[in-house]
Structure formats: structure tokens, C-alpha cells
């Protein structure tokens, strides 16, 4: 039976833990709101860009004239893994790393390179024998456009220089506060454009005979880097939102658990206190009885 003082100490420490997790939950909630807004902001742009691009490729009679479409024999692969910088977000990072390990599982070490976004991925892979070419850290949960652009510039350069033949991205798609989906998507070469298209657009397109200024090739040249950037930014925005969502949920349940623990401990404390009082009373009474003789 723990003593009164011990129980009291535990109660106090649990209370302060609850305060911390509560604060973290609220911070995560605020950041989640911001991240969700980011997703909403980028969405129309990326949708329109995809539409223009698909009209463009349609009009160019399926002839995709840009190096980003070039499918080569895959000798070297690159994996971009987007994890979070910080922990306290439940199984978020471990799920991502598990997925990445599965992806890496059947690959030859020499033919694969890793690009890690977020500290947690680096923490895991730096001690393992994979070839890490570059890391992008310290995002502090915000989407930094300059950083994202550097990442994309680096990726496209590696692809165009032939240092890698295929780039995949593992990230989390944001579904709702509590839900995310781990995705493993091909990034370069770009293969299909109409994944996000709905029925209406299918019907609507192909009826137009577009005028291109200056030429489809030139527009492709301008539009493809933007497409690559937008795709990455969407992925990152989703990842950050899922991270904050997961952290909010994790911290919420931690706060709840702390509350339950405090209740249990308080009960224990009161029981111990009562027992002590009863014991004391008994001692006094029996002492008095003994004196009476």
C-alpha cells in the first residue's frame, strides 16, 4: 500500500502531465486548422492545372512531349518519405516507416536512394545502411514554399540528369481529423493525368480544337515544373494536416487517460487517508481502554 505522501505526489505529477497534453492538443488543433486551410487553398489551383494539362495532352494527341513523361528502364529508384519532425502523434510515424520498409523490402540497397522529409524518418534510417541523399527537416509543421521548391528542384534535377529513373513518394493523405491514408504514389515520371477527373470533365473535353500559343511543346515546358511543384505541395500539405490531426487525437486521449488516472489515484488517496484516520482512532480508543484497566 503506497503511503499518503506517495499517492499525493503521483496525483500532482499526473495533473501537470494532463496540463501539458491538454496544451499540446490545443496547439495541434490550431495548427490543424491552418493546415486544413492550406489544403483548401491549393486544391483549386492544382485541379485547374491538372485540367489544363489534360486538355493539353489531349490536344497534343496523346503525344506527351516532355522529359517528365519519359519512362526509362528502371535501374535506380528514389523514395521520398514524408514523416513529421516531432513525435507525440501516436502511430503516425511508425506507420509511415513500416510502409517505407515494406517498399524497401524487396529492393537492392545499391539501387535505391532515400530522400527524407521530417526528422523522424531520418532518426530511423540514419542508423541503417540505406543511401540517404538528402533530408529536409525543421518544417515545424508549416508548409514552407521555399523549402518545398528546393525539394522539387532537387528531385527534378536528379531525374533529368539520369541519376534516378523513378521517384516515388510515401506520404499520408488527409481524410479527416482522425483519419489518414498512407499513400505510395509515383512522382516521376508522370504517368497518368486524369486520375482526379470526374465524369463531366471527361465528357466536356476533347471537343475543342485548341489554339496554342506559342506551341504545345513550349507550354508543356512551362507547365510541367509547376505541375511537379503543385503535386509535391499537395502531398506535403496533406501530410502536415494528418500529422496535426493525429497529434490532436493522441493528445486528446492522453488528456482523457490522465483524467481517469487522477480519479483513480484520488480514490486511492482518500481510501488511504480514511484508513489512516480509522487506524489512529482505533489506537486512541484502545489506548484509552488500556488505561482504564
Amino acid at each position: 500500500m503506497p503511503t499518503l505522501r506517495e499517492v499525493k505526489k503521483r496525483i500532482r505529477s499526473t495533473i501537470s502531465t494532463r496540463q501539458i497534453t491538454k496544451a499540446m492538443e490545443m496547439v495541434a488543433a490550431a495548427k490543424l486548422r491552418k493546415a486544413q486551410m492550406r489544403i483548401m487553398q491549393v486544391r483549386p489551383y492544382s485541379e485547374k492545372l491538372t485540367t489544363i494539362l489534360s486538355h493539353l495532352s489531349e490536344a497534343a494527341s496523346g503525344e506527351l512531349v516532355h522529359p517528365f513523361f519519359e519512362k526509362r528502364e528502371v535501374k535506380k529508384r528514389t523514395l521520398v518519405l514524408v514523416t513529421s519532425d516531432r513525435g507525440f502523434c501516436g502511430s503516425f510515424n511508425s506507420n509511415l516507416i513500416r510502409k517505407a520498409n515494406k517498399w524497401l523490402g524487396d529492393q537492392n540497397r545499391d539501387d535505391v536512394e532515400l530522400i527524407l522529409v521530417g526528422k523522424k524518418g531520418l532518426d530511423f534510417y540514419k542508423r541503417r545502411q540505406w543511401n540517404i541523399v538528402e533530408t529536409f527537416q525543421d518544417w515545424s509543421g508549416n508548409l514552407d514554399y521555399t523549402k518545398a521548391r528546393n525539394l522539387v528542384d532537387m528531385l527534378t534535377k536528379r531525374f533529368l540528369d539520369g541519376e534516378t529513373d523513378e521517384i516515388s513518394v510515401i506520404y499520408t493523405q488527409f481524410l479527416s481529423t482522425a483519419r489518414y491514408k498512407i499513400c505510395d504514389v509515383p512522382y516521376l515520371p508522370v504517368d497518368s493525368l486524369d486520375e482526379e477527373h470526374n465524369e463531366d470533365e471527361e465528357k466536356q473535353k476533347s471537343n475543342f480544337d485548341y489554339i496554342f500559343e506559342p506551341s504545345p511543346e513550349a507550354i508543356f515546358k512551362d507547365i510541367m515544373p509547376k505541375y511537379a511543384l503543385t503535386k509535391m505541395i499537395t502531398a506535403l500539405a496533406d501530410s502536415f494536416a494528418s500529422e496535426h490531426g493525429t497529434r490532436m487525437m493522441a493528445m486528446g486521449s492522453a488528456t482523457k487517460n490522465a483524467g481517469e488516472m487522477i480519479d483513480a489515484l484520488t480514490l486511492q488517496y482518500n481510501k488511504a487517508r480514511q484508513a489512516a484516520i480509522t487506524k489512529e482512532l482505533l489506537e486512541i480508543v484502545s489506548g484509552a481502554e488500556a488505561l482504564k484497566g
Partner: protein, 132 residues
């Protein structure tokens, strides 16, 4: 009348029925009226003039992007856009100064084309703001 939407990575900047649109195409300024033929073109930094339903003229500055016109719907996709009246002259001047300084700065790896584009964008904003 046709539908015009101006979209940037940050937000949908403008979405309305308009009477006409003049945009800085890569091969020169081009005007779009109702029932324009389907068109896709690249956009360079410059001035966009929109005449809205009530014949009011709205001017704004845009940076690089694309314009698609089809079935009386025009979509202007640009990196950045600003109403002419909102342009911050000091900030634009500062951007030019910074970029020119960095261009003459020999040290490090400087991306000259990117800087040149930055100067071009800032000059464009200055020009539009002073026209307004």
C-alpha cells in the same frame, strides 16, 4: 459575358462573369471576348485588364502562369496576382534592389535567370502601379 476565374496557389483570387479580359500572353497582349475560340497560352508577368458586368475596369498585375479559354470559361492560372491599387511600391522597389545587389554579388551559387525574373516581376508591378 463569359466566366473568368483567376486562381493562384494561395486562393481563388477572382471569379465572376466578365465582359472582356486583356492578358499578357507570351507572344503579346491578347484580348478575350465572349465566344472566344478555345485557347491555351503561357502568360508572362504583366498587366491584366478585366471589364466586369457593370462595365467597370479592373486592373491587376500578374506573374507567370497560364490561360485557358474554352466554352466561355476562362481560367487564368498564375503564381501571384495583385490589384493595381494594392501594389506596395516600396516592396517592389526593395525587391528590385535586392535582386540587382545579389546579381552583382559574385559569391556563392546565384541563380541568375531566377533573379532576372524576380526583377522583371517587380518592375512589372511598379509599372502597373504607376499607371493606375
Amino acid at each position: 459575358m463569359f466566366n473568368l476565374s483567376i486562381v493562384t496557389p494561395e486562393k481563388i483570387f477572382y471569379e465572376n462573369e466578365v465582359a472582356s479580359l486583356i492578358a499578357p500572353g507570351i507572344e503579346g497582349y491578347l484580348g478575350i471576348l465572349t465566344n472566344h475560340a478555345p485557347l491555351i497560352t503561357a502568360i508572362t508577368p504583366g498587366k491584366v485588364t478585366v471589364k466586369n458586368e457593370s462595365e467597370e475596369i479592373i486592373t491587376m498585375s500578374v506573374s507567370e502562369g497560364f490561360l485557358e479559354v474554352s466554352a466561355n470559361t476562362a481560367t487564368l492560372l498564375v503564381d501571384a496576382v495583385e490589384y493595381a491599387s494594392d501594389i506596395d511600391l516600396d516592396r517592389a522597389k526593395e525587391a528590385i534592389e535586392r535582386a540587382t545587389r545579389r546579381m552583382s554579388d559574385k559569391a556563392g551559387s546565384i541563380d541568375i535567370p531566377r533573379l532576372r525574373k524576380a526583377v522583371e516581376r517587380a518592375k512589372n508591378r511598379l509599372r502597373i502601379a504607376s499607371d493606375d
